[in-house]
Amino acid sequence: MADLVLDCRDLVRRFDSLVAVDGVSFGIGPGETYGLLGPNGAGKTTTISMVAGLLEPSGGTVTVLGQEITPRSTTAKGAIGLVPQDIALYPDLSARENLTFFAKLQGLRGSELATRIDEVLDIVGLADRAGDKIDTYSGGMKRRANIAVGMVHQPTLLILDEPTVGVDPQSRNAILESVDALSTTGMAVLYTTHYMEEAERLCDRIGIIDSGKLIAEGTREELVARLGDSTAVTFRADGPVEAVRGWRDDLSQLRTVSTVQPQEYGATVTCGHASEVVAGAFSAAEKRGVTIGGVDVTAPDLEAVFLSLTGKALRDGS
């Protein structure tokens, strides 16, 4: 598979007894945007740290454009642009000074350097504040400057690690727009997130990662198709603890129900025939003395895929 930009094979990383990344394999083709979707602590940052040659794998290999990446393979790293999860900029320097320094380290010089810096400042929408110190930027602006530095040298593979965490909705949208724009430039992008909507919006293919393992991979459509024609139905229910427990058991007996996920007040059910299940749930509740306070029916999405694969929600509150 020489035409892959990135090829990860059986990546493993241990921290003492903890296996943070456990046999992850995936590839990204030229111009493709690949999303690594998983909850906090799933192993996303650890995976991309190995991809970027910042962390030595405990096992497995990473190749970028056919060249193996390790912490010592300095030349090959020139093909990679990393946008780390936390802002990694000199706070006392301006965006332009930061860009100039990192671009020069990558080997950019002269007019090419100036042109590229202006281009990326435009892409992230910081052209008018380029001369101001990073210190004076808002959180969202810092994130955009952080992205600009990662792509100033026009890497073949751009890696973005949860670039929208903790930013205001406006900046978030701006960031998503600029990543979207990159897909037209031929840059391969590896994008990690725990936001299902971002993965759905940006990525050509998505890998779902949980507890260090890549548990599913494909386009959004392929992943959702795995659910069959199943729908997620969430009931808010109230009543004596024993009664609610019994009612949940009743739910799992209903026709077309594949999983029942207990919630604090109620349950989430994946099923093939939502209206039939809703009706069955109400009659069971009446018999058990359980009150149903609300019903929420969601069409199949990545959230539901994650739920059906892991039995837990992608986002725990955050």
Binding site: P71, A88, Y90, D92, T156, E177
Partner: protein, 417 residues
């Protein structure tokens, strides 16, 4: 975001650029480091303003007549040969006749043993004693090891330092003379024509000895020549901890990880930081050198020699700063290591108390600042030229290279996961 279509990028070509050579990456890192440090006012204060301020204060306190050394150095002669007599005579010749405004006065006193020489200091007859042991001339003319002993008071380290450098001067000159006469002696042995002691004395020309004790050592000698180098090096110690701080800050800010994620080896980072701290240390030392020279008329001696010692000692401090960087896990550790290192080097190196004998004077030879201080004294008081201090420069550089290598290895181990 303007909402208009983003500008088109050129399709990424596989590995768009060639990564630059490591050395130019190191220089980029050094330039950025210096650029950022020079924006930081506290660094400017530490490196330039404080040394100048101290130079002004100390220079003011010692300017005028008070700046001159007023001391008696006794040549305690237990050798009692024509040569040792000539040495004493040459030194006493340099005494000023008017004897009004102090300066170093030399006296010769015949003694029988080292105890008598020490007694001269204890009794207050001398501020320092240069003891010429019995058999010294004979040993020198045989090319065998022989040393002059200096006895001084712990309370007057400067006088002791002067005496030591005069003694070093005598020893060096006599040995140089010996090499010159060696040929004559060998001829004498081979031809059977005897070479009498008068001839040998003449060969070991007393005028050369006089050179080691010219006007500098007499009443124009300025105490600042001793204070200035020691002072300059204290500020150099401050610079020592800044490499660790710079690396740790970059680690915390994530910029170090970002640099290493690019095509930049860890060695380039360490090299860049080392160049930056070297330039800063050099600037600090040169500031003190130039300000004391031009504003206070301090004579440091042969400028080429002074510059060589400065270049070397800054390299040594840079090397030590890399060790601190390799060891320190956080800024508190870096700070305490710097303080401990500074005190240790200052005490062992004779920055606070310059003792001419005892274990401390031996420890001094193993510290870069001690070696540098001795070289500076050789240059100013001993009137050594740049060739004379090359061995010391070599030792200082060796300390720098070894500590720098240890530092580099330990930092790289820390940086690479």
């Amino acid at each position: 975001m303007t909402g208009s279509a983003p500008p088109k990028l050129h399709p990424a070509a596989g590995g768009a650029t060639h990564s630059p050579p490591m050395l130019s990456q190191a220089l980029l890192i050094a330039r950025l480091d210096l650029h950022r440090r020079l924006r930081d006012r506290s660094i400017l204060l530490q490196v330039f303003l404080a040394p100048i301020l101290l130079a002004v204060i100390v220079g003011g306190a010692f300017s005028g007549g008070g700046g001159n050394l007023d001391a008696t150095i006794v040549i305690a002669d237990a050798d009692r040969t024509a040569v040792s007599g000539a040495v004493g005579a040459a030194l006493t010749q340099t005494n000023t006749t008017d004897g009004e405004s102090g300066g170093v006065t030399f006296e010769t006193v015949p003694v029988a043993n080292p105890d008598e020489a020490s007694a001269l200091v204890d009794s207050g007859a001398a501020d320092a004693v240069i003891y010429i042991p019995a058999g010294y001339t004979a040993a020198v003319s045989e090319g065998e090891p022989a040393a002059l002993t200096v006895v001084g008071k712990a309370t007057s380290p400067i006088v002791t330092g002067v005496a030591r450098s005069v003694a070093d001067g005598i020893n060096t000159r006599l040995r140089a003379q010996y090499i010159g006469t060696e040929t004559a002696v060998r001829v004498s042995e081979q031809t059977g024509i005897p070479l009498d002691s008068a001839q040998l004395t003449e060969a070991l020309n007393a005028e050369d000895v006089v050179v080691v004790a010219d006007s500098r050592l007499t009443n124009t000698f300025n105490i600042m020549s001793f204070f200035a180098p020691g002072m300059a090096m204290i500020f150099l110690f401050f610079v020592m901890g800044t490499t660790a701080r710079s690396v740790l800050t970059e680690q915390r800010d994530g910029t170090l990880g970002r640099v290493l994620a690019g095509p930049t080896p860890a060695t380039a980072v360490v090299l860049g930081k080392a160049v930056a701290v070297y330039v800063l240390g050099l600037a600090s030392m040169l500031t003190v050198y130039l300000v004391t020279t031009f504003a206070f008329g301090v004579d440091w001696g042969d400028p080429l020699g002074v510059v060589l010692v400065i270049l070397a000692v800054v390299a040594a401090i840079t090397g030590l700063s890399l060790i601190v960087t390799g060891l320190a896990r956080n800024e508190e550790q870096a700070q305490s290591m710097t303080i401990i290192g500074t005190l240790l080097l200052a005490v062992l190196g004779g920055t606070f108390v310059y003792s001419a004998s005892g274990p401390l004077s031996q420890a001094r030879a193993f510290t870069p600042n001690g070696q540098a201080l001795m070289a500076f004294i050789d240059l100013s008081a001993g009137q050594a030229n740049w060739q004379d201090i090359l061995p010391r420069v070599g030792i200082i550089l060796a300390i720098g290279v070894v500590s720098g290598a240890i530092g580099l290895i330990s930092i790289r181990r820390g940086l690479q996961p």
